[in-house]
């Protein structure tokens, strides 16, 4: 596997729509010329500019970008929580009656007034799934996330890492067609993060659901993803796609030990660095022009 390099095809988002996919499988999510603008104080701010993506069924797709590049907005649009200004997206319908998507939100999103069990069972309860089925499914994912002993605990009794595990158990228990994850581990410390990476990969390997995962951490992206999309910031555009060449199942620590891992990370960083610098530069310019105006 050592000869496999990351795919460095730089794609102009306005030009070609599709990146070549080496595997032949059906397309699950396709995003087509999607643009999102916000109006604030009479000015129009473009959060997402002409985004084109196709995500295969069963793919672990990661979006990496500097803060404020509109990643979360994109995810919220796919989750149906916001509407695009123009363009469209389509998610291929699942055969069964399972929900289309479930989201793991950034930060604390589990209900403080429900026990761990009630939180994990939330989606199933909302869909009126039979009690016995809820019991099996929730029990399974609580045990997978090491939460069985805390089933009756309330969130305030748990650490941040535990709470994020509940959030993951809630999303997986709901058995959605696709999983949308919005920087789920960004508030966690490094050790907890690594543990949760391992757990997430283990659970994901069981089901191989289509995942759309957002992060600002390159390490996280390379550890988890099959394919990584790098975004520019302000406006958020597609900068490049990178295929991650590592086999599954993955051992997180062993993976990070490999030289090729470092190469992929370095490669992405090179592209991202420019973006981060650019966005810092833009921020500086804005500050300078603001200062000049105020004189």
């Amino acid at each position: 596997m050592t000869t496999v390099k990351a795919d460095r095809a730089h794609l102009n988002s306005r030009g070609a729509q599709n990146e070549s996919s080496t595997m032949t499988s059906e397309v699950k999510i396709s995003v087509d010329h999607l643009t999102k603008q916000f109006d604030s104080k009479g000015k129009t701010f473009t959060a997402l500019d002409d985004i084109n993506i196709t995500i295969d069924k069963g793919q672990f797709f990661v979006i990496v970008g500097p803060s404020g590049c509109g990643k979360t907005t994109l995810l919220r649009i796919l989750a149906g929580l916001e509407k695009p200004t123009s363009g469209s997206f389509s998610i291929k319908e699942a055969a069964s009656n399972r929900p289309e998507n479930s989201m793991v939100f950034q930060g604390d999103s589990i209900f403080p007034w429900m026990t761990v069990w009630e939180n994990a069972a939330y989606g199933l309860n909302m869909r009126n799934v039979p009690k016995s089925e809820i019991k099996d499914t929730v029990g399974h994912y609580l045990s997978k996330t090491g939460l069985t002993a805390f089933a009756d605990a309330y969130p305030h009794q748990l650490s941040g890492g535990m709470r994020q595990r509940v959030s993951i158990a809630r999303a997986f228990s709901n058995d959605p067609d696709i999983l949308l994850m919005d920087e789920p581990f960004s508030a966690l410390d490094e050790q907890n993060k690594t543990l949760l990476h391992e757990e997430l990969l283990r659970i994901w390997d069981e089901t191989r659901k289509t995942v759309l995962f957002i992060t600002h951490s390159v390490d996280e992206a390379v550890t988890l993803g099959d394919r990584i999309m790098i975004m520019t910031s302000q406006p958020g555009r597609v900068k490049a796609f990178v295929d991650v060449p590592f086999e599954r199942p993955r051992d997180v620590l062993e993976l990070r030990h490999r030289p090729e891992y470092g190469e992929v990370v370095y490669d992405i960083w090179q592209q991202l660095k420019q973006e981060v610098n650019d966005s810092a530069e833009k921020a500086k310019e804005r500050a300078v022009s603001k200062a000049a105006r105020s004189h």
């Binding site: 989750a79 149906g80 929580l81 929900p99 998507n101 479930s102 989201m103 939100f105 930060g107 604390d108 999103s109 209900f111 403080p112 007034w113 429900m114 026990t115 939330y122 989606g123 909302m126 869909r127 805390f150 605990a153 309330y154 969130p155 305030h156 009794q157 748990l158 650490s159 941040g160 535990m162 709470r163 809630r170 709901n174 508030a187 966690l188 410390d189």
Partner: protein, 273 residues
């Protein structure tokens, strides 16, 4: 998110090691809590017997308790208490139910809030006791006027606290319920109500207190029974001991209601325990 990295098992299995309830004098808090009023009553009693205070206005506690015994024995006290309790009970529900429904609707819907909020906050500062003559005029001297007074007292704090409680529920919880396919009713039941519950309970506590004040006033003006009537009647007959009995019983009722509501709060908000 960044707090609580303390060992978790210890936290859950061994909930908060309480410091022993003794202060540095070696007396427990409970002894102090009960001891202080008892000592004050004894001092009061002694002052009366020494002639240091005027027994016409401050009758000895012993004579107040004796009067209380008489009133209990004759069934009079119970009759008045029961009248007040019934009015409080019906008035409480009459104020509470519309207040919660309206408060949640105002919290969830911006148009409803914009339409009704000025009305509610505009009428809120009116001293409720000033409404008594009007209420008596509308509802007559029967039970209804007293029940309505209590209901008004309960309504305002509950509606305002419910509304602000619902508004303050973090938007992410509504996003979650929407993403997980909750119906309107389930959003109501699983997010808005429990999220606003601490605030709703605060409103209920305030409302119950206000209800108690208003029932006493209403019974003084337009009633032939009830604790408020008993106190007012005692003033007219210059039976100061009876007056004190009435005040004492109302105080105890208020205290019991507060304790009861604290228990209810624990029961409806198990996550706050």
């Amino acid at each position: 998110m960044t707090q609580t990295s303390a060992p978790l098992a210890a936290q859950v299995v061994n909930p908060a090691r309480r410091s022993p309830k003794k202060n540095k004098f070696g007396v427990s808090d409970r002894v102090l809590a009960i001891g202080t009023p008892v000592v004050l009553l004894l001092i009061w009693e002694a002052f009366v017997h020494l002639g240091a205070i005027d027994a016409r206005f401050f009758p000895a506690p012993s004579s107040i308790f004796m009067r209380m015994g008489e009133l209990i024995a004759s069934g009079e006290l119970w009759m008045h208490m029961w009248a007040s309790i019934q009015r409080l009970f019906y008035g409480f529900w009459l104020g509470l139910v519309p207040a919660i429904v309206l408060g949640v609707l105002m919290g969830l819907s911006r148009p409803i809030r914009s339409a009704l909020s000025p009305l509610v906050s505009g009428t809120y500062p009116i001293p409720k006791s000033a409404l008594l003559p009007l209420i008596l005029l509308i509802f007559g001297l029967g039970e209804m006027s007293k029940v309505v007074m209590v209901a008004i007292g309960v309504f305002y704090p509950v509606v305002m606290n419910t509304m602000s409680g619902v508004v303050q529920v973090a938007p992410i919880y509504y996003d979650v319920s929407k993403n997980y396919g909750a119906s309107k009713w389930k959003v109501f039941k699983t997010v808005a109500i429990p999220g606003a519950m601490p605030s709703i309970m605060t409103g209920i506590e305030l409302g119950a207190g206000l209800g108690l004040i208003l029932i006493a006033i209403a019974e003084m003006m337009g009633a032939q029974e009830g604790l408020g009537f008993m106190i007012w009647n005692a003033w007219q007959l210059f039976s100061v001991e009876t007056m004190y009995v009435g005040i004492f019983v109302i105080a105890v009722m208020g205290y019991i209601i507060a304790l009861f509501l604290a228990e209810v709060a624990k029961w409806v908000m198990p996550w706050k325990r």
